[in-house]
């Protein structure tokens, strides 16, 4: 069910401000692609264009093309809501629905998709929580509020919620930046498992993390404040971190930049 993403000539704007300029890239299915780069370089903005979450911000818009296999996500008749049902997303800060139980959090997306049967829901909730390596920790307290879990557990709950609807692609926007090292490790292990089924794109500020979890790495950079972010280089992770083609990439990963 994982699909290939092909982006060509994509620009993302906030009102009149061009935040991301002319990005083209191919993201392979069943692989992990990491986006790295300095703050403000547009990597999160670009990530959010891949499930049309960018445009929920007032004034934000996108031009260019994003193909999910053979479907253009920005086509005329494409409903952004439908796009988000096949391209799941996990955010920087764990954001389980605070008023819902653990069970209902995982079932939320399924209910939106019209899954009603109790036994069907039970099954998918269990599979998803197992898929997110959370089942053993929460199986005895499914009716308890999701907000009562620890930060790392909440983030895995959010991942369970995202994979419960069986998306084609899973986008992760700095999913570990609010977590401690042990929870981070748990999420990274999970990413390694999930890539056998999903196309995963992860934004991270942590270069070791990018090196650990990803197959391919994209480096974004920005020429200066107020200038648009650009994709500098996308290649095999091992190549980016040992022998990058671009000077800017090498400067960034070795800590010499600016």
């Amino acid at each position: 069910m994982a699909k290939r993403i092909e982006v060509s000539g994509l620009n993302a704007y906030y009102g009149g401000f061009l935040a991301v300029e002319d990005v083209s890239m191919t993201i392979e299915p069943r692989s992990v692609t990491a986006f790295i780069g300095p703050s403000g370089c547009g990597k999160s903005t670009f990530l959010r264009t891949l499930n049309r979450m960018h445009e929920v911000i007032p004034g934000a818009r996108v031009d260019g093309k994003v193909m999910l296999d053979d479907q253009d996500l920005y086509g005329d008749k494409v409903d952004p809501v439908a796009v988000r049902r096949v391209v799941g997303m996990v955010f920087q800060r764990p954001n389980p629905f605070p008023t819902m139980s653990i069970y209902d959090n995982v079932a939320a997306g399924l209910k939106l998709n019209g899954v009603k049967g109790k036994s069907e829901l039970d099954g998918i909730v269990e599979t998803s929580l197992k898929g997110a390596n959370l089942w053993n920790e929460v199986k005895d307290r499914l009716p308890k509020p999701g907000a009562g879990l620890s930060g790392g557990q909440q983030q895995r709950l959010c991942i369970a919620r995202a994979i419960a609807v069986q998306p084609q692609v899973l986008l992760m926007d700095e999913p570990c930046s609010a977590l401690d090292p042990i929870s981070t490790l748990a999420i990274e292990d999970l990413i390694a498992q999930l890539k056998s089924q999903y196309t995963i794109v992860i934004v991270t500020h942590n270069m070791q993390q990018a090196a650990r979890v990803s197959d391919r790495t994209a480096f974004f950079n920005i020429a200066g404040t107020g200038k648009p972010g650009k994709l500098i280089e996308l290649d095999e992770t091992s190549k980016i971190f040992t022998n990058p083609t671009e000077k800017a990439t090498e400067d960034y990963i070795t800590g010499r930049f600016g």
Binding site: V56, A82, V83, R84, R85, F91, R93, F97, T99, P145
Partner: protein
């Protein structure tokens, strides 16, 4: 995005009070004294009002030949005085409750429309107009209710009576005119702006991550509202409803103008009649004697107690599912 979230969760809805730690500095002491003084002052005022009402009510309660709680007639000025609050309590609670029932869905609809559906410019204008409704003096609502609503509501009233007459509340032979129903409609319009503007504020403060959680799952706008906005705003909306209910319970002039005095408890709200504590006080206080006034104050005491019970019930509802909101 995240820092806004922090500020908002700290500021909204949840009562996470911290004990102030006194450092012994003079500024802290002064501030502590001022805060304590304000808190105590409120309690003193509440206590003084209650004591005053009880004190003034005692002579009438002692002279009363009827049953204060169950009699439906108010003859505090006859000799011997006979009066009971049953009709007043019924009219007050029924009209306020009906008003809340009518106003809440509309108010929430307006609040949701302004905060999530309307284009920015329209939203600002509409919000302003709704707030203006709150600034209209209640006597104006009363006059409008009496001279417009009572005159022009026959169609609606007979429709309700004909087609929904199987509901006991809408039954009755002789519907129309200055009924409890019309009084409730006027009250509903009066409490609409309070409920709507507080709900709007609460909805606007829903943290972005909660909204994006729903959107990223592929929720439509309505589904986002149902998943993220309404649960988050729930306690705020209930508080707004209670403020509205408080105003409806205590509303005086408008309801005194609209209702016509017919004695007795009448469950047929479409028929003329009905009375409330506040309306009864404002209509009869001027021509009452010593005992009559004392009796009215006793009824005011009951209104005071009812309002307090309503507020406490609201607090209980708000805190019941606290586990899920913090």
């Amino acid at each position: 995005m995240t820092s806004i979230d922090d500020v908002q969760t700290a500021a909204v809805g949840v009562s996470r009070r911290r004990r102030a730690i006194s450092t012994g500095r003079r500024g802290d002491k002064i501030f502590r004294g001022a805060a304590l003084g304000s808190g105590v002052f409120v309690l003193v005022i509440m206590g003084a009002i209650a004591a005053f009402l009880v004190w003034k009510a005692i002579p009438a309660l002692q002279a009363n030949q009827g049953s204060f709680l169950t009699d439906t007639e108010w003859r505090a000025n006859s000799d011997p005085p006979r009066f009971g609050i049953a009709q007043l309590a019924f009219g007050t609670v029924m009209s306020a409750f009906l008003a809340l029932l009518m106003a809440t869905p509309v108010a929430i609809g307006i609040a949701l429309f302004i905060s999530f559906y309307a284009p920015r410019k329209l939203a600002d204008g509409l919000g302003f107009i709704v707030d203006l409704l709150a600034a209209v003096p209640s006597i104006i609502y009363g006059l409008w209710g009496l001279h417009f609503l009572v005159m022009n509501s026959d169609g609606v009233v007979s429709f309700l009576n004909t087609y929904l007459g199987w509901i006991p509340l809408f039954a009755g032979e002789n519907v129309g005119g200055q009924s409890l129903f019309i009084g409730s409609v006027v009250l509903a319009i009066m409490i609409l702006p309070i409920i709507s503007s507080i709900s709007r504020e609460v909805f606007l403060q829903v943290p972005t991550p909660h909204i994006e959680a729903a959107q990223a799952l592929g929720a439509t706008r309505w589904e986002t509202i149902r998943l993220s906005v309404l649960p988050y705003g729930r306690s705020g909306v209930i508080s707004a409803m209670m403020l509205g209910l408080g105003r409806a319970l205590g509303e005086t002039v408008a309801i005194a103008l609209v209702l016509s005095t017919v004695a007795g408890i009448n469950w047929h709200i479409l028929e003329p009649g009905g009375n409330t504590f506040a309306a009864n006080i404002v209509r009869t206080f001027g021509e009452s004697g010593e005992i009559g006034r004392s009796a009215l104050i006793a009824s005011g005491l009951v209104l005071f107690v009812i309002t307090m019970i309503v507020n406490m019930a609201a607090r209980a509802i708000v805190s019941r599912r606290k586990e899920f909101t913090e």
